[in-house]
């Protein structure tokens, strides 16, 4: 029910990335329950799960992947390049990865 209500809430907007925290804070749920809701939504083909690789310099998501095996060994950040940062290509094993969900329409 909660999930259906959440989907009604976001149906008319472009929600972009849906983090577990978005669901948790909206319904004031324990974190594990919010995560469970998201995982159930993946099982129901309502959400798809993504892994974002985070740039250590600009803290943005450089690129997103469907699973860990798709992540290449190195990744290039075009913003770091444009801003002349010391480094613009990073080893992905050293980078932070964020999990989030997207609405399957």
């Amino acid at each position: 029910m909660l999930l259906q209500k959440y989907l009604q809430t976001i149906d008319n907007i472009d929600p972009g990335k849906i983090y577990v925290e978005n669901v948790r804070s909206l319904y004031n749920l324990p974190r594990f329950a919010a995560r469970l809701m998201c995982e159930m939504a993946v099982q129901e083909h309502i959400f798809t799960k993504k892994i974002g690789v985070v740039c250590p310099n600009c803290n943005r998501i450089i690129e997103e992947f469907d699973n860990i095996n798709q992540i290449p060994e190195t990744i290039y950040c075009h913003i770091c390049d444009a801003e002349d940062a010391e480094q613009n290509t990073y080893k992905t094993e050293n980078l932070k990865k964020e999990e989030y969900y997207k609405l399957l329409r």
Binding site: D14, G16, K17, G52, C58, N59, R60, I61, I62, E63, E64, H78, I79, D81, A82, E83, D84, E86
Partner: protein, 286 residues
Amino acid sequence: MNSKRDLLKRLLNLFPTKLLKEHFKEKGNSEDVIEAITGNNRSNFIVDFVFNNYNSTRQNIYLFDLDKNFNRNVIDNTFPLAIEKEILLNQEYTLLCLPQTEFSVYLSNPTAKEDLFFLQPVHIIIHKKSLVLIFTKLEKNVHTYFPEIREAKKASVKNDEEETLKKILTFFGMHYSVTPTNFNKGIKQLWHKDEIDCYKIQWRNPHSTSSETMDGTLTFKQKYPTEYLKIVQTQLSKSVWKYLLTDDYLCEGFTADPSNGEISITKFPKLPNQVKNVITKILTNN
């Protein structure tokens, strides 16, 4: 390490290899081509090439407004840099200087400290009340100049771009009131017409500075049209732009600080006029 030929080689290294091959009719990889050019051409030919082809390099561009029309007579022997070449075309003066930037580099295997000198092309373009300073970007990673097994780290730098810029501005400041060109209006016009959109933008609020950096290759206006309408009313600062049209008129991307008159081109332009077009397009819309 820092012979005249070494400096010319590093100078040519700032240009795309394709252009060097075409212009000097040489074949091979970048290293071979530069070796051949510096062996077969007098240095004044190489300086001529640098003067005429700066539009094909990666650049930092600084735009300024003068309080009155430029008078060539003010540039005398007190000018802080040696002028290598000069041309006057349609009331526009273009001067080329090649200041020497000196890096001190720490090396491993074996441990040593070496000096590495570069000539940095600086084009000074003056037309009436407009002063444009174009610095060709130097290679930022010094390790490319040493064998791979020798880890190289910059220890210090003398006479870098910041210092040269300061010298030039101090000189012009003695004769004119010099202010960075504020091109907020110009860039917002291009943004409004959907010719450009940004990957990153910083703007001033009444009590804070905000910044938005887009994930992946998304752009700001495309994803946040409502926020766009708010921030076009503010003063913009550091931003990274994408050219949205497919006609190759401008280079595919550039960074800009519209409130401080700064533009930076970090990738070799596809076509020689693209950088000039970026400047002209922003200023004609300003």
